[in-house]
């Protein structure tokens, strides 16, 4: 833990509030993500995990609070600046969110549209697409349509699409939900490999205890809209607090 805290903070949330009508979902949530860290946020269904992660990338507007991504407060950024910052943030959606009408190749090329140059040189789109697909072991699916892929393959392709801009931070929204245990394990291993290869910082939203155990450097439990408890998997799983214990039963 101490080694983690010596590192640079890449993402920070302070006092985040979000309500939908009378339903107060986030009630002063706080968190920090350090460089190269895998931080897992666990919470029950409907606890506001997905709302929090959507506020992080500006897909939802928070009612109150500070969201700082690589020292930029995203609540104050204009659309152009936000789009530039988003290139450094990868987002893996719960349902993969592949574009139905495009092939796997087109799905991966799509995020590159606004980024045709890197360090003043034209980027080789084809090379990047093939490399990203090879990273997830699906180079042979390049000309297939998303409807031809299984759930696990879709999740891998979505991960490849997330990786194509080589983001510094990756946000995973329930990366193993809806997958069988073997495929879920494969996805977790893939996430670990990616983290090692690119030294990305990862924020993983999940209610899958196995996923949290394997991948987390640190965990935060989101209960009643706040960061109820934080620590390593071991620390939290040994807690005597009944609200925390309920997660690890």
């Amino acid at each position: 833990m101490s080694s983690t805290h010596d590192k640079k903070v890449v993402l920070e949330i302070k006092d985040l509030y979000k309500a939908f009508g009378d339903n107060q979902v986030l009630n002063g949530f706080n968190m920090q993500l350090y460089e190269g860290e895998n931080l897992v946020i666990m919470g029950r269904s409907g606890s506001g995990k997905s709302v929090m992660i959507k506020c992080l990338v500006g897909l939802m507007e928070a009612d109150k609070g500070i969201i700082s991504v690589m020292h930029h407060d995203i609540t104050t950024l204009n659309q152009e600046a936000l789009d530039v910052l988003r290139a450094d943030i990868g987002f893996l959606f719960q349902g993969s969110a592949l574009y139905d009408s495009m092939t796997v190749r087109e799905n991966l090329e799509f995020p590159l549209r606004g980024h045709t140059k890197k360090n003043g040189k034209l980027i080789d789109t084809e090379k990047l697409v093939v490399e990203a697909l090879e990273n997830v072991g699906l180079a042979n699916t390049i000309d297939m349509m998303p409807s031809e892929l299984s759930g696990g393959m879709k999740r891998r392709v979505a991960l490849a699409r997330t990786l194509i801009l080589q983001p510094k931070i990756i946000l995973y929204d329930e990366p193993t939900s809806g997958l069988d245990p073997i495929t879920a394990k494969e996805i977790i291993i893939l996430m670990q490999d990616i983290q090692k290869k690119y030294n990305t910082s990862s924020l993983i939203i999940t209610h899958d205890v196995d996923c949290a155990r394997v991948i987390s450097d640190r965990m935060i439990l989101l209960i009643d809209g706040i960061d109820y408890a934080a620590g390593t998997f071991k620390e939290l799983s040994n807690s005597k607090d009944p609200k925390i214990k309920a997660f690890f039963k």
Binding site: R86, F91, A97, Y99, P111
Partner: protein
Amino acid sequence: MLRFDVMTKQLKSFFIEIGELSLFTSRFFKETFKQPFELKELLQQCYQIGNRSLLLVSITGFIIGLVLTLQTRPTLMEFGAVSWMPSMVGISIVREIGPIITALVCAGKIGSGISAELGSMRVTEQIDAMEVSGINPFKYLVVTRVLAVTFMLPLLIIIADTIALFGSFLVENVKGNVSFVLFFNQVLDALKFGDVVPATIKSFFFGAAIGLIGSFKGYNCEEGTAGVGKATNIAVVSTSLLLFIIDFMAVFVTDIFFEL
């Protein structure tokens, strides 16, 4: 009292919807003139919308021409005015029946298609995925589709009108032994500037209405598959109603300028 409350609530939500649609429309105009222009996607949408609706619009046009001529013929014969048939059919098809029927058919086919496509993209988070990739989904999805329908509908209407006239000619040729040259000479003689131009202008408005409402309902679709169904249904119903309102306004304005 309860009924009054329900009515007030419905009226309030109606005006909120109108307000949101107005904001959506103003955003459309703002984004249309902002770079980068999505020309490739616009051409793709033009091809998709035009090509996929061509057969349906052609069949509808042909049937309109046939039915209109068959139904009107006996009445004109009673008054000894059957020779006026090509002029009457030409004017009614070009001025009114062709544009409105084609627009209604396209509201069902194109408007529902746009609404369902964008709605399912919204519920499966594909629109969110575009946004986090730093790509403006409004510009890529909405602007291209609305422009494509606006440009393609007038062309589809011209095709439908032409085929409807052929349908009418077929009946006249079989029943009245009217030649092709005579029929179309009479049609072209009867058509004036005030018949063709206002009908063409209003067809652009019809196209914009179909694209805007279909996109608005789909883009702001509620969660779940039921939300997609609801959005599609409302899109078709609202567009159909709006087409008649636009048509009424167009006729009203045309009457001022061309004295119908």
